[in-house]
Symmetry: D2
Amino acid sequence: MSKLRVAVIGARGRIGSEAVRAVEAADDLELVAALGRGDELETLAEAGAEVVVELTTPDSVMGNLDYCVGQGMHAVVGTTGWTDDRLAQLNGWLAASPRTGVLIAPNFSIGAVLTMKFAQQAARYFESAEVIELHHPNKADAPSGTATRTAQLIAAARAEAGCAPQPDATVTALDGARGADVDGVPVHAIRLRGLLAHQEVLLGGEGETLTIRHDSLHHSSFMPGIVLGVRRVVSTPGLTFGLEHFLDLA
Amino acid sequence: MSKLRVAVIGARGRIGSEAVRAVEAADDLELVAALGRGDELETLAEAGAEVVVELTTPDSVMGNLDYCVGQGMHAVVGTTGWTDDRLAQLNGWLAASPRTGVLIAPNFSIGAVLTMKFAQQAARYFESAEVIELHHPNKADAPSGTATRTAQLIAAARAEAGCAPQPDATVTALDGARGADVDGVPVHAIRLRGLLAHQEVLLGGEGETLTIRHDSLHHSSFMPGIVLGVRRVVSTPGLTFGLEHFLDLA
Amino acid sequence: MSKLRVAVIGARGRIGSEAVRAVEAADDLELVAALGRGDELETLAEAGAEVVVELTTPDSVMGNLDYCVGQGMHAVVGTTGWTDDRLAQLNGWLAASPRTGVLIAPNFSIGAVLTMKFAQQAARYFESAEVIELHHPNKADAPSGTATRTAQLIAAARAEAGCAPQPDATVTALDGARGADVDGVPVHAIRLRGLLAHQEVLLGGEGETLTIRHDSLHHSSFMPGIVLGVRRVVSTPGLTFGLEHFLDLA
Amino acid sequence: MSKLRVAVIGARGRIGSEAVRAVEAADDLELVAALGRGDELETLAEAGAEVVVELTTPDSVMGNLDYCVGQGMHAVVGTTGWTDDRLAQLNGWLAASPRTGVLIAPNFSIGAVLTMKFAQQAARYFESAEVIELHHPNKADAPSGTATRTAQLIAAARAEAGCAPQPDATVTALDGARGADVDGVPVHAIRLRGLLAHQEVLLGGEGETLTIRHDSLHHSSFMPGIVLGVRRVVSTPGLTFGLEHFLDLA
């Protein structure tokens, strides 16, 4: 079986260099190009890339995708900063290249994606739901974007199922004790030296609790998701937003 | 809206008496009969029961279901001891009463059912999977039936997805240290005073782990599942085996 | 060996009735009296009680202890509401009865007491420390008194050892996300159906974390501490405040 | 205040190079020499080293310590392979240099040392105790040395306090399900991709459990312990075995 020809743009960054390593390590993938800042996009066509892994910055991602989609190269994109305008523009390019697939994933960690998915699926079956996220103390924002997104998904699932508001008899509280309120779901942020990135979803019903915990102990945790994206994007024309759409959860 | 008319057989047992309480507490259900050992089945028809919750013993369950299905009463069954012969016999009765539904559930805890389901869904995306179950020290078997079943589901999901065997470089081990081998998935049983029934599924991939933990802190944890079964069985003719089929996990 | 003669006051309350059961179950203790509201204190002397377990209310505790100490009976006290004035009065009674011992314990759970002790011992060796407490949703205050006390002990230990303030680079936060600030230690309160009373102390240093978690799954968790208190108070004249002083932690 | 003059032997190994970095980062320490294989020990005297951090191999440690103690240099030793004979020889050298201190530590992680200490302190107060250790799947032995040692300390503490054997009603078990038996304490070993080194001590009594968990997420976790050892060894003449003796746990 011939190998899938893969290129990485943004190959000299922290995540990019891991992606290069992951593509090289996969039996069914062949790394044909690894571009950094200043390298020419034409290299991708010369190298015969079939899939491009795009891990750059909001400044350069649109130019890169314009080129790739125009060449009929599929793309797996980790760069952030997507607005409705940008997505509309990308969909325009894809309309002109109907066999080409693009996956944009805000999070390539399969564990993080499954945590959100499971939280969403389980939320309606429990009276209570809270989210705890735990990170290293150098993080600037609290709670994490993933925790906020998880709480929003839980809240939406509960609303759709017609769940009652969460029970909470608190009458006296120290300021902040009950966490941040994200659409009615309390979210708590821990900052602890020694940690990397961790999240716990707690669900509670009569006599039982269900806890879903994701621990990210190294940024290499993004690699299996990127490799999965590369394998699946070639047979998924059009735009896919979110790695969860490439997971078979039957 | 008229309430659904529910009866409980085995109403004086530990679980049965909780079921009586749960039916009484649900706004949309009405308890019309609560039978114990020696009570007459005819009471169910006289009371106009639409759904019967069957929580007795393998000795009496077949007679009870023969009666209920014959009367067109739906049934939610927690009694164990199901063999292929028994299921065939039950299916025969249901064939003669095509509008009647029966739910048999080995486990009514929604948290336990979701834990198994999520473990099964996630298994193929991680290199490693192990199961830890933790119970009070009066338990006679190790590992628990739920843990064994969970490990089997994980193993089957991995086999179906063509996963490689789990990595394990152990060359020197104390006897028992690596747990029991259930279809290639290690299962570990903890027995600790103070615990009731708990289970943890650990999944590990490059740089990350996903943990799904279920804590059952009181046997009332079965009640939401029984109530859910009662509500759904009336619109699900035929035999349903396993509460997971009544959970919407889209 | 003759058994220690024990009486319980407040024997018909939820904790009191468990205490009666625990004394009866202990091989070396004999229950000689169990008093409820309205019973006469003279019963204690008539029964020859050597140790009295006092589990009543702030309204009656002083009268009960005045009697017990006056009779030379040792006391193990779970009743709350201690002020400096009350403690001074009690110390006065004890000065007049120098062989008598009284243990007042705000918390009889050995697990809770050890959690606080270990948190206090470990605090100075880690850069970061946070407390998470998790309770049933009917609790009126947040955080729990035990969590607040634990955070205060951690803060005091860190101050005494001259630790630097905890690292925290948060610049953007949702209100409440980082918890309540108790003397510089963040405390987070979770309220979840299905839980009883749980607490986690998280300590983090370079490359590692230490977590001390206490789960109280039933109010019988107070019993081993009460029994321990009864056994030790008879050889500990004077006032002891806190069960931790009766634990040998060498 | 003048800084303490510190040298590292074995400075080019994985742990040694971290130790170099840690000494350089500490305000009160000055790195005066960093020796690798083949470097001359005389360099230590020329550099005026007051404390030597010894992180080499069983082959070279005795020669290194003979030199250091002879020169009156204190030593902090992470090298393993200590026998009674070797300890006797080292004690002989120290007898001839009575102001010199040597700390030998099988484990420099403060979290691991505290976990063992707390497990030992708490063991006698609970009916049940089990140990779970969790490591990456490349580990060759199961259970880990730390887990075995922890179980032995728990067992010894229980024996000394006259505790009854642990309750365990298991009559039917899959082979290995209940873990390895270390002096009556069950020990379970998990091997999971994504993990580094983790250990959990579970203690259970009536109605409550106490869990002490140590997560080592990076080998830099040894550094605070090495730095602590360096600071304390200068005022602790003679041989100290185990970092726990340098922790103030009052």
